[in-house]
């Protein structure tokens, strides 16, 4: 990242904004400073991608928003977070879910001792609109993920990695969210399914008006489906812009997208970027 652009100006609370994070800082265990002032905005009905290398702080950002960070002994020490125009930092995670903002955690986190179907039903915990609606939502999820329907009675702990990922996404869908924080949805999924999941994201977004903030390593596909992107590096936003603009950005191309098509470099011939340094010469 050679030319870090300045972060966007403090976002104005506007009716078309679903979520804003304003200059937030996160500290783990009262010692490790991980986010050093991150600001971002998700427009209502938008799909925003949060990109960045391993350890950049993507997951931390999402957890700071959903307030799951507390459970990791982390703390938002600075900045503010607004969801649908209201301050939500300091709210409990379940309050957020009730307001329509739900997170799909990285690493699946299915309830191992519950069956797939029970897992999905826990997603509807905050819903009060009756059995019928929940059953309908369940059918909808099964329609999206037929594989889950086959495995509905097996314990989630025994299902394959990809099945668990589907289960986690389906579970979030069950809560009828207005905004989903999606952490690495493509991880461990077969290419076809990845495509499917992003299609589902698009469908929920266009038909249901659900906003998405997705943290993704698969920059390629993320920028295809997102409208806007932020690139995070070591706890700071270093670049942001319209997805189409980012796709054309030279640095992004080199570091994140690679070149597709015929003149793509083979992984076999990947060059070394870093100088090797010997420990104890």
């Amino acid at each position: 990242m050679t030319q870090p652009s300045t972060s966007p100006a403090a976002p104005q609370p506007a009716p078309d904004v679903a979520l804003t994070a304003n200059n937030i800082e996160v500290i783990y265990n009262r010692v490790v400073l991980v986010l050093k002032g991150v600001s971002l905005t998700v427009p209502r009905g938008g799909v925003v991608a949060l990109l960045g290398a391993n350890g950049a702080g993507k997951t931390t950002t999402l957890k700071a928003i959903s307030n799951l960070i507390r459970a990791e002994r982390g703390e938002v020490t600075k900045g503010s977070i607004e969801f649908l125009g209201e301050r939500v930092d300091g709210l409990r995670p379940d309050d957020l879910v009730r307001r329509g903002c739900i997170q799909v955690m990285e690493g699946r986190h299915c309830f191992g001792h519950l069956t797939i179907e029970e897992n999905l039903l826990t997603g509807a915990f905050t819903r009060r609109d009756g059995r019928r609606a929940i059953a309908a939502a369940l059918d909808e999820v099964y329609a999206f993920f037929p594989r889950l329907k086959q495995r509905r009675t097996s314990l989630a702990g025994y299902t394959s990695g990809g099945e668990q990922q589907m289960c986690a996404i389906g579970r979030a869908m069950m809560s009828k969210p207005k905004m989903v924080l999606l952490d690495e949805p493509s991880m461990g999924l077969a290419p076809q399914v990845v495509e499917e999941i992003f299609e589902i994201v698009r469908e929920l977004n266009t038909k249901g008006g659900v906003s998405f903030l997705l943290a993704e390593q698969n920059t390629n596909i993320a920028l295809r489906y997102a409208s806007y992107g932020y690139i995070l590096e070591s706890g700071r936003i270093v670049l942001d812009g319209e997805a189409s603009a980012l796709r054309e950005n030279q640095d992004v191309k080199e570091f994140y997208l690679g070149v597709s098509g015929a003149d793509r470099k083979s992984f076999r011939d990947a060059k070394h970027y870093k100088r090797r340094k010997r420990w104890l010469g």
Binding site: L68, F111, G112, T122, F125, L155
Partner: protein, 318 residues
């Protein structure tokens, strides 16, 4: 040879010879088992809902019963004392959630276990401070519990069933049945199981841990109170009762940590097993084997079924 006879034949000869005693032994085992099951139930509830192994369950039982009796001795009518005791268990649940569990959410189980040990110390100190350390008598009659016994002249002898024991069995069965249904078939029940699996994921789908924990600890508090009343009626209410609560542990592993019906089945097996063991085989080694028989039974059993009778499968996947 003689020793083999004593171990494998003689006890059964005795059983056949005095069937009334056998029935009585079984009954005592049954009642003991039901009472163990009640303690175990308290453990199961909390374990299921938070993955916390609540070391303080035993002391909660004493504390609840002590509150009841303590208030009664201060002149509060029994029914009011009962209501107040329930109220105090509610306050306790609130306090535990607020002070202990909330700051420790998503921590390893063993840390939460440790925290409940701190709670045990606190409750012992507090309980003795407020109510004194001397044993107290359970006002069985004032609470409307039956006294006396039903005697049956059958099998060429006398079988005598204490009414209070019958009441205990009925109350325990009702509680167990109710809770088992609750866990399997309700929204909250499912949420409880989810919480036990993964605190953070439960939070992420909007399950309010705070609320859930208050509910569960309160329920466990009521179970503790019921247990305290029953045990208290059998001997008396004192801090020595806490020791008994350890007996719930083999019951737990036998039934499986997370199973409500397991608690009752485990309780019955342990209760009856140890009474039969002590009564028919104990004298061979000088008696007193009741102190370890339950654990050894449970251990032997675990070797064949490492997750207990109804416990959740131990998931081993990579």
């Amino acid at each position: 040879m003689h020793i083999l006879y004593l171990i494998f034949v003689d006890p059964f000869v005795q059983m056949a010879g005095a069937p009334d005693l056998l029935v009585q032994t079984l009954w005592e085992g049954l009642v003991g088992g039901v009472l163990y099951a009640l303690i175990a139930l308290g453990f199961v509830l909390i374990f299921k809902a938070s993955g916390v192994f609540n070391f303080a369950q035993g002391i909660m039982m004493v504390f609840a019963a002590l509150t009841l009796v303590g208030l009664y001795e201060k002149g509060v009518p029994a029914w009011l004392a009962l209501i107040l005791a329930i109220g105090i268990m509610y306050l306790l649940a609130l306090a535990v959630e607020r002070v202990v569990l909330r700051p420790l959410v998503n921590q390893p189980d063993i840390m939460l276990f440790m925290a409940t040990f701190g709670l045990t110390y606190l409750l012992i100190g507090l309980g003795e401070f407020v109510f004194g350390g001397n044993p107290k008598e359970m006002p069985v009659a004032a609470l409307g519990l039956p006294k006396g016994s039903l005697d049956f002249k059958i099998l060429g002898g006398l079988v005598s069933l204490q009414k209070i024991d019958i009441a205990a069995a009925v109350i325990a069965s009702a509680m167990v049945a109710g809770l088992a249904l609750f866990f399997q078939h309700t929204r909250i029940g499912r949420a409880l199981r989810a919480v036990a699996d993964d605190h953070q994921a439960a939070l992420s789908v909007g399950i309010s841990l705070n609320q859930i924990w208050v509910i569960v600890w309160f329920t466990a508090g009521i179970v503790a109170l019921a247990t305290g009343i029953m045990w208290g009626a059998r001997s008396d209410v004192s801090f020595a009762l806490q020791v008994i609560s350890l007996k719930a542990l083999p019951v737990l592993i036998l039934g499986g940590f997370t199973s409500v019906p397991g608690a009752i089945v485990g309780g019955l097996i342990i209760g009856i097993g140890e009474k039969l063991g002590e009564f028919y085989w104990g004298p061979l080694v000088g008696g007193g084997i009741e102190s370890w028989l339950a654990y050894v039974l449970a251990l032997a059993f675990l070797l064949f079924k490492p997750e207990g009778l109804f416990g959740e499968k131990i998931i081993e996947r990579i």
